[in-house]
Symmetry: C2
Amino acid sequence: MPLRPTDAEHIRHLSFFRASTDATFDKAIAGGFLQKFPAGTTLLMEGDTVDFLYILLEGSVELGAGWKSKDTTLAILRPVSTFILAAVVLDADALMTAVTLERSEILMVPGESLRRAMKEDAEFCFAVSEELSGCYRGLVRSIKNHKLRDSTERLANYLLTQRARQGGKIEIVLPHEKRVLASLLGMTPENLSRAFLKLQAQGVTVDGARVRLEKVTALERLARPSPLIDNHFAQPRNELGKAHTERQKGLLDGKGSA
Amino acid sequence: MPLRPTDAEHIRHLSFFRASTDATFDKAIAGGFLQKFPAGTTLLMEGDTVDFLYILLEGSVELGAGWKSKDTTLAILRPVSTFILAAVVLDADALMTAVTLERSEILMVPGESLRRAMKEDAEFCFAVSEELSGCYRGLVRSIKNHKLRDSTERLANYLLTQRARQGGKIEIVLPHEKRVLASLLGMTPENLSRAFLKLQAQGVTVDGARVRLEKVTALERLARPSPLIDNHFAQPRNELGKAHTERQKGLLDGKGSA
DNA sequence: CGTTTAGTTGAGCATGCTCAACGGTCGTGG
DNA sequence: CCACGACCGTTGAGCATGCTCAACTAAACG
């Protein structure tokens, strides 16, 4: 569908469009459209030429990559996230495959429109640069998480991140299937099970998708969350509260762009 | 030193300054200066506030990070590379520590100057976005390299990348100490030794820093280099030959920015 | 009901790490 | 000039983390 004005107004307040002028906004999304995809749809394969910037508005999307019959998950996105921004800016091929995990609603913006708007409006271009920088730092965090922590530590920190995001309650709900979570955390489903068992000593009990964290301090002592890796610490916001704009999310369950 | 005009003219042609106007260039590097550092100097620790964009002109710099008494190398930079660009754009704290590996010459540009120039000149801002996008994609490649390949495969691909960069000769020279190389490839020095031994079957012989690749096809069969991971494939350049600008380097021995 | 799929549990294995010892090289200082 | 020490690189032995493969359970779905 060719993007109704009401949708446009909604999108207007998302991501790096917030700060743009009406004229730039119209230019940037010229030719854009909203589309719904069922679960399991491959939006883009690594190596494909990228014609659109994708903005996930509903559902969830997995970014992954493969080599020699191996596959790995690089990120899982939830709304509102852009993806493959970097490839769009460079007009280059995708480095990651994007697949919907659930029925998803996605705004597709022609790369050419976005690049033109960037080149004509420095304010807007700077906002896109901020978005790109946030994506970059999300990746750096993700690498540090994987190279410096073992699988149990990654799970512990993931649980604490979810806790912070879900309001600090004693019980959290896992937002993904455990197999997907395992892949996101860089382990096999078998090892995720075993990691949960190990965390029983830190007061973690599991019942399906519901996880209770009874001894948060013990869990934190093992997890040692750090603002230089995890992204669930209080975000500095400027006076207007319009986020300065590194994202709330980090990359583990965060955002990406190829 | 406060950046002599001759140096400025030299820098003028580097990185994302190439396409900028004189006025923007002057604005961007206002207050910048050139500085030399001995080997082993810590330029920046993770968590520090970032006041300058760094541009490496001579020498080499390691970007690393630590957690709970573990440390890891994220990238090794060679000239000409920017680093911590993303932190500068967001005016945020550094996520990585930067240390000189050799005596190095580095241009330091005040973040405020750079940001102001970006906000006033859309062309320039777009060029910085392209740089950021290249950094981002370098990181994606690095993650894929680490998650999809074992240590021997990473070494094999590293050797092929060096071969391509050094002109395809039968003998290449390792540009770093083996301990540094090991860290870059995500393994211990001990395992790097053993990985070299394994590659003897593929015609790889080592004599100090000099490595001979006698059976390149056998090595390639094991390494299976891919344009979606490695960055040593022919770069598409536009008619003007002015690189479209994803970098020649990739991130393994490439570029980064926090 | 049978079938399928997610999740768990166990056994064995592989990759990579730690720790220790040793050889070689280089730079310093006697 | 030589002796010593520091450090890089290599090699070996043992260990740990995480993976594979297989069996089994439970819930979902036709």
